[in-house]
């Protein structure tokens, strides 16, 4: 990846144009020699080198020589400035900024349920308003001297600016932060492309979910690739969006994400399209350090850290999860931890409310263990190198652009202050920048009185203090402009007398006159007796030890992950979920993640032996229909067909409900898209590998699935009376959506087949079909390479969908919910469809008026492969009870009832060759229960996934105790921070939403991470 990185950057170019030869001049030409030298300063050079008594020579905006004073040749006519006692740093660079960009209008979205509409943007652009590759920052840039001045005061000499609007946001331009025209300040018009997962000002509903944004980006890449080929062969009309995408493909992408999981999701796209990304992260990357170290992706880190919560009220504090408290404690160490792990990063100002906090935040990062040199690098050479502009920017080196600034104190000193900032060789001075440092010890003689005066503070904003004189305390105030100085003195007594002094300053002596309290004219002078010494505390620098990072990053996460164990369960009642049924007093041996042996008197060898006498051992429960562990939107739903989106893109490994369900004996689930539209999105079939990354939770042996839906949800029946415009509004329309989708998919397959049959030579001359992710997923269904799980209730439409499937010659794999399945059980059996249903839900909507709790039993007895699912984070914790209801309602045997939540859902998901029963060679996804698992009185004692003990009832007390202890420690620490004056926020929790398949919200309409 790094290789591609650099080749891409070859296309960048850099010129520092500081005059516009094409422009007419008002007056006479103003071409100056522009030769300057800064002598006798402390120079902060690359690789942490600090040169005291150094000289820098500049000419026409570039650095021409750097070296020890006296050893550097200074060309004739050079203006030399003496920087004794001052520091020189290369200017900082921020790659994530919107300096000089027009404001983004944030208007509220129209109702989400309107029929989909295409972009209303003028011009021949693509269909989606959130895809804006045509927006070139360079075209909209207008220098803003006020903002630039503020940035220069923070050490920034250049930023890459972009318009933070949309998902694909266009290109960013490198701009200098000087006071010239747009032409002068625009250093490089296109240095990076910008992406995000926020829709910005788009007025369109699509995409409404994170997975929708992922799909839209992917499709845009494919469209751009296709357009490039098709256009070359004159095979398509002009599309300004795709035209502009071509340029973006040659630029590195800066992708704004808000947390580590989203960062990893963005990197999936980077990988898939072999396109190098930089991530503007959320500052929590330390939680997934290994993953970032492995990716080696450069990060732009915010300098904002969470505020402590006000945890004064112990009951209010309960709402703050330990994960938030731990993040509060560790976030400032994020950069130091990344540095230790070798992850490259730079800092950005983005997200910092009060820009003046910048220096303070740098000191904080320093306190938390990031070395001075690495902080400087993260603000200079690191960002420059990320975009390949380091041959011109990012350090004090000969030949580079003269971007540097001068301070009287090191950047990590509380006295830091940018006194002068050189941008491309042009000097910008701090407004209050006296020629001489006024700070120091003075003997002040006013008329006949002598005072000891001490001047401290910063170079530009000094503070005066008088020592006791004849046992009387005095106060003093100092001000000045240029070489002028004014003092005001008064004794701290009841006289309220003031002496007012005015004069001029030289290096060591001030003289002048003034007015005494009685109105009399007096003269005064101050003579420096000692120079100023910066005695401010130097921060101690060390990466604090926080202990291991829990995985996932929640209270119940692992601090050391369990390994696959070799365990012999002896004398258990074994519910095989196989033909053998329930075996009394049987041994089961698991080893290396699989079930190794089932039998009697098995040899333990070196296995851990668990006496399971009186206990029950079963396969882990598999939930065919779940919506837990999903980030930012379970429904795309904005169009009738969204087969292109995938829950697999948005699996949330940190959801506490995974652990809660392990505690209920669940080891695997299909995470389904919602049911807001007839053809929803692709599923993720996961094992509950608590502690693993999302990608590692997916079952690599599971075939791909997709969610379909029928009935009230897809026809928007329950969304309010005004939602009556989007097609379909009836079951009649739903059928036609399916026919249309599959007709289009057939045509798509034909198109590709025709193309693929061409010879290599012919292919070069032919316009290839456009790769369409929606049709691709649909055509996989036709090829029986992808399988459907269809949300369904009413018999008519269930029957209909089977006829649709028959006519396209594929089998409808699973009807999920299927509460009227019992009415068409014979037809389902004949078709070969399976059923995944609720035990006893009904009456919550009109279409379930005929739902009966005997459904599962009837279907099972009719020979339909039948499962009981949850669709609910709470019910997912006790699917064993739900299965037992099929004994009560419909009289299934214990074996049959138990199959409803183990081998049957495994069959429906086509993973039964690996999981779902206790069988030799299958995965050791097993549960040990203390009672008959179908009993309301049973609870899991242990839950294993891949032979790893991921839930152990006997460990629960210890886990809770650790959580309580850690919470208490952090609460004490937060209260100390509050006492010390830290701003606090009221307890709250960033919620993990609990999704049902009806849920549909717009997850991308927020602006929390956009730049100001």
């Amino acid at each position: 990846m790094q290789k591609i990185w650099w080749t891409l950057l070859l296309s960048c170019y850099s010129v520092v144009v500081l005059a516009q030869p094409t422009f007419p001049v008002n007056g006479v030409q103003d071409k100056r020699p522009e030769r300057f030298a800064l002598a006798n300063g402390t120079l902060h050079l690359p690789a942490g080198e600090v040169l005291s008594g150094g000289t820098i020579v500049m000419e026409k905006g570039r650095l021409t020589a750097i070296g020890v004073d006296g050893e550097v040749e200074i060309p004739e006519g050079t203006v030399v400035y003496d920087l004794a006692g001052k520091h020189v740093y290369p200017s900082f660079i921020d790659l994530y900024h919107s300096y000089g960009m027009p404001d983004v209008a944030h208007t509220k979205l129209p109702p989400r349920t309107l029929p989909p509409r295409i972009s209303e943007k003028r011009g021949a652009f693509g269909w989606n308003e959130a895809i804006r590759p045509e927006v070139a920052a360079a075209d909209h840039f207008e220098p803003d001297e006020k903002a630039a001045k503020a940035m220069r005061a923070l050490g920034f000499g250049a930023v890459v600016t972009h318009q933070p609007d949309g998902i694909i946001r266009g290109t960013g331009a490198l701009t200098l932060l000087g006071a010239g025209s747009a032409n002068e300040m625009l250093a490089m018009p296109q240095v990076a492309a910008y992406y995000s997962f926020h829709k910005g000002s788009s007025q369109q509903a699509y995409p409404a979910s994170l997975m929708g944004a992922m799909a839209l980006i992917r499709q845009t890449y494919y469209d751009a690739q296709w357009y490039d080929k098709a256009k070359a062969l004159d095979g398509t009309g002009y599309d300004a969006t795709l035209e502009h995408m071509q340029q973006l493909l040659d630029l590195p992408v800066i992708f704004s994400v808000r947390d580590n999981l989203t960062a990893l999701r963005a990197m999936q796209i980077s990988k898939e399209f072999n396109h190098p990304f930089l991530l503007k992260g959320g500052g929590d990357e330390y939680q997934k350090l290994d993953a970032f170290a492995e990716l080696g992706v450069p990060l732009l880190l915010p300098l904002t850290f969470p505020k402590p919560y006000d945890v004064t009220d112990p009951y209010a504090a309960r709402h703050v999860p330990l994960s938030d408290m731990m993040h509060w404690e560790r976030a400032p160490a994020n950069a130091a931890m990344l540095a230790e792990a070798g992850v490259p990063f730079a800092f950005t100002l983005d997200g910092l409310d009060k820009k003046k906090q910048f220096w303070q935040q740098l000191r904080k990062v320093h306190q938390y263990g990031l070395a001075d040199s690495l902080i400087l690098k993260a603000l200079t050479l690191a960002p420059a190198s990320f975009l390949g502009i380091d041959k011109d920017y990012g350090s004090l080196e000969e030949g580079k652009v003269a971007n540097l600034f001068v301070t009287a104190a090191p950047i990590l000193s509380p006295h830091v202050e940018v006194l002068e900032h050189w941008v491309a060789g042009k000097r910008y001075l701090h407004t209050d920048y006296p020629r001489y440092d006024r700070r120091g010890q003075y003997q002040l003689i006013v008329a006949a009185d002598t005072f000891q005066l001490e001047v401290t503070g910063t170079y530009a904003k000094p503070k005066a203090k008088l020592q006791l004189r004849d046992s009387v305390a005095w106060k003093a105030h100092i001000a000045g402009q240029g070489d002028l100085v004014q003092l005001r003195l008064s004794p701290k007594d009841s006289t309220n007398n003031y002496w007012r002094l005015s004069g001029k300053a030289t290096a060591k002596e001030w003289t002048g006159d003034g007015i005494a309290p009685d109105g009399g004219q007096i003269s005064w002078r101050a003579v420096q007796t000692a120079a100023f010494v910066d005695t401010s505390d130097q921060d101690s620098v060390a990466l604090p030890s926080f202990g291991p990072v829990p995985r996932p990053f929640v209270g119940y996460g692992w601090r050391s992950a369990p390994k696959a164990q070799k365990v012999l369960f002896t004398n258990a009642t074994v519910w095989t979920s196989e033909a053998e049924g329930i075996l009394p007093e049987t041994d089961v041996l698991i080893n290396q993640g699989v079930i190794e042996a089932i039998g009697n008197d098995l040899e333990a060898g070196d296995a851990l032996v668990i006496d399971a006498t009186g206990k029950h051992l079963t396969a882990g429960i598999i939930d065919e229909h779940s919506h837990i562990a999903i980030s930012r939107g379970v429904n795309e739903g904005t169009q009738s067909v969204t087969a292109e989106v995938s829950i697999g893109d948005v699996v949330n490994s940190e959801d506490i409900n995974l652990f809660r369900q392990l505690a209920g004996g669940v080891t695997a689930a299909q995470l389904l898209h919602g049911s807001a539209n007839p053809i929803g999105g692709q599923s993720a079939i996961i094992k509950f590998r608590w502690g693993a990354l999302p990608e590692d939770m997916k079952m690599d042996f599971a075939p791909p699935f997709i969610k379909f839906a029928l009935g009230e949800n897809v026809k928007q029946s329950n969304w309010g009376d005004h939602h009556d415009e989007r097609f379909p509004q009836t079951r009649m329309g739903v059928e036609q959506v399916f026919y249309d989708a599959f007709h289009r998919a057939e045509a798509y397959l034909d198109e590709w087949e025709t193309f693929n049959q061409l010879s290599r030579k012919e292919k070069e001359l032919a316009i290839p079909p456009r790769r369409d992710l929606e049709l691709e997923a649909l055509s996989e269904i036709l090829l029986e390479e992808r399988f459907i799980s269809c949300h369904s209730y009413v018999q008519s439409e269930v029957n209909m969908l089977m006829k649709v499937a028959d006519s396209f010659d594929f089998t409808l794999n699973t009807f999920t919910h299927i509460l009227e399945g019992y009415k068409v059980a014979d037809k389902m059996k004949a078709h070969g469809a399976g059923a995944s249903t609720f035990s006893d839900w009904w009456a919550y909507k009109y279409e379930v008026i005929d739902a009966i709790p005997y459904n599962a039993a009837l279907l099972a007895r009719m020979g339909v492969v039948t499962a009981i699912n949850s669709d609910d984070a709470e019910m997912g914790r006790r699917l064993n009870q739900e299965a037992a209801k099929a004994m009560k309602y419909g009289g299934l045997s214990e074996e049959e009832a138990w199959e409803l939540v183990t081998i049957n859902p495994a069959r429906l998901l086509q993973i039964d060759h690996k999981v779902g029963s206790i069988k030799r060679g299958k995965d050791a996804d097993i549960v040990l229960w203390d009672d008959n698992p179908l009993s309301v009185y049973a609870k899991p004692l242990q839950t294993y996934v891949d032979g790893r003990l991921l839930y152990d009832h006997s460990q629960l007390a210890a886990q809770k105790a650790w959580i309580a202890k850690e919470r208490q420690r952090l609460i004490q620490k937060m209260l100390q921070a509050k006492e010390k004056g830290a701003a606090t926020i009221m307890p709250s929790k960033q919620e993990h939403k609990l999704y049902h398949c009806d849920d549909w919200e717009n997850e991308l309409e927020d602006f929390t991470t956009t730049a100001p």
């Binding site: 994960s323 909507k845 005929d850 005997y854 006790r878 008959n932 960033q990």
Partner: protein, 428 residues
């Protein structure tokens, strides 16, 4: 003797394939012999005889200790079966809603913040198709409750086999329902971003409740008001000790504040929901309030909470000596009431204690324990006969049930569909 039961069942299904008609008053005395009787107060009689006449229990005894002449009785052999007092479901919307998502069928949410005058009883639809499915599992009485606004309305207690709401009523307009504004609440459309948030309007809501209570209390002291104020009239019983205030409240701070009102206005009060009551059991106990606990089939209230907390709360309240019962909010869900009680058993309670939380305890809390809630002589013959342990779905099947001595029809819409389709498919 199982054939007797089967014969009874057949008798009651005949001619009732369309609707489940309410049963007529008890004509003949009944004796249930040889069953295990779970009295509902913690006691169990292994080989029991349970007799009732004219709707009232006349005999509950150990068959081995008495001699008895069965002449004139209809005798039911309950060998191998279990007899329980009819289960009582507090805090439901039974009969107030038919299909939750069909607005025309929803009758539990009235407009307005303070509407104690709206009465659940008169909206109670005895012909709801949901109700027969509820009593099929042995839930024979319910408190029907309006919900919406701050004070949502007045609840009543009904038995679940009636021609009309006048027939159904067991205790009319018995409770006023206050829905507490939570100090920390889930807010806004953007729940993922806002999450749990402090409710800045909480103090104002409290002031409004106090103001309303103050004025209602003042009004109640006027013996003959010039103008009838319907909302205040509906509150009168609270101050005269004839009604209870049901406070729907979950968080610790909210409970604590609610308890101060109970004391301030000297109310008979019951906490409903009460998710966090277990954290301050001393205060709850000292306030003398009872608790209608939300379903143990709930998620823990906080990310870091004990994963088993909802299952354990009942036991903590029990150990603290706080009168409590269990509930399931909603309508069709209520048939699972015995199983939510069963769920609490594994976490410290005995089966008989769990049984009390859906029989004698709700009867006491709802103030109907003089008639219902236990199998005791003199009380209503409201009971059920199950094939096994009623708290476990694995074993619970009601074969006969009586409300006030009337043997009710256990058939329902769902069973009928089941039978219809078994017949279609030729299944047993």
């Amino acid at each position: 003797m199982k054939h007797v039961i089967i014969a009874l069942l057949v008798f009651f299904s005949i001619g009732k394939s369309i609707a489940q008609n309410p049963a007529p008053p008890q004509e003949k005395p009944v004796l249930i012999m040889n069953a295990t009787a779970h009295i509902g107060n913690g006691e169990v009689i292994e080989n029991a005889v349970v007799g009732f006449e004219k709707g009232l229990l006349t005999l509950v005894a150990d068959a081995r200790t008495i001699r008895l002449d069965t002449t004139g009785y209809r005798v039911i052999d309950g060998s191998g079966h279990h007899v329980y007092p009819g289960f009582i479901a507090p805090n439901t919307q039974l009969g107030l809603t038919e299909i939750d998502l069909v607005r025309a069928t929803r009758d539990y949410a009235e407009v307005g913040e303070f509407t104690p005058h709206v009465r659940a009883l008169i909206a109670y639809n005895t012909d709801s198709r949901i109700i027969p499915t509820i009593r099929t599992n042995g839930v024979l009485l319910s408190q029907i409750v309006p919900k919406k606004g701050r004070i949502a309305g007045t609840s009543s207690i009904v038995q679940l086999d009636a021609w009309n709401w006048e027939d159904a009523v067991v205790a009319a307009d018995q409770g006023v329902h206050l829905y507490w504004s939570a100090l920390y609440a889930r807010r806004g459309w953007w729940a993922e971003q806002k999450g749990v948030e402090k409710n800045e309007a909480w103090s104002k809501a409290l002031q409004e409740v106090r103001q309303f209570m103050d004025e209602a209390k003042g009004y109640a002291a006027i013996s003959d008001p010039e103008t009838i104020h319907q909302p205040f009239e509906a509150m009168r019983g609270l101050f005269e000790g004839t009604q209870q205030l049901y406070i729907h409240v979950n968080g610790v701070q909210d409970i604590r504040q609610a308890l101060t009102l109970v004391e301030e206005y000297d109310l008979e009060a019951v906490l409903v929901g009460a998710r966090d009551a277990w954290m301050i059991t001393d205060e709850v106990k000292a306030a003398g309030v009872a608790v209608i606990l939300r379903s143990p089939h709930s998620l823990p209230g906080y990310e870091d909470a004990d994963v088993e907390q909802p299952y354990k709360t009942a036991q903590i309240l029990h150990d603290a000596g706080i009168p409590y019962c269990l509930s399931i909010d909603g309508s069709w869900q209520v048939r699972n009431l015995p199983f939510v009680a069963g769920t609490t058993v594994h976490y410290g309670l005995t089966r008989e204690q769990a049984l009390m939380s859906i029989s004698s305890a709700p009867a006491e809390i709802l103030g109907i324990d003089d008639r219902y809630g236990t199998l005791e002589e003199g009380k209503s013959a409201t009971l059920l006969l199950s094939t096994g342990d009623a708290l476990d779905m694995r074993t619970h099947n009601v074969v006969a049930a009586f409300i006030d001595g009337r043997q009710i029809d256990l058939n329902n819409h769902q069973k009928e569909l089941y039978e219809t389709y078994k017949e279609k498919y030729g299944l047993e």
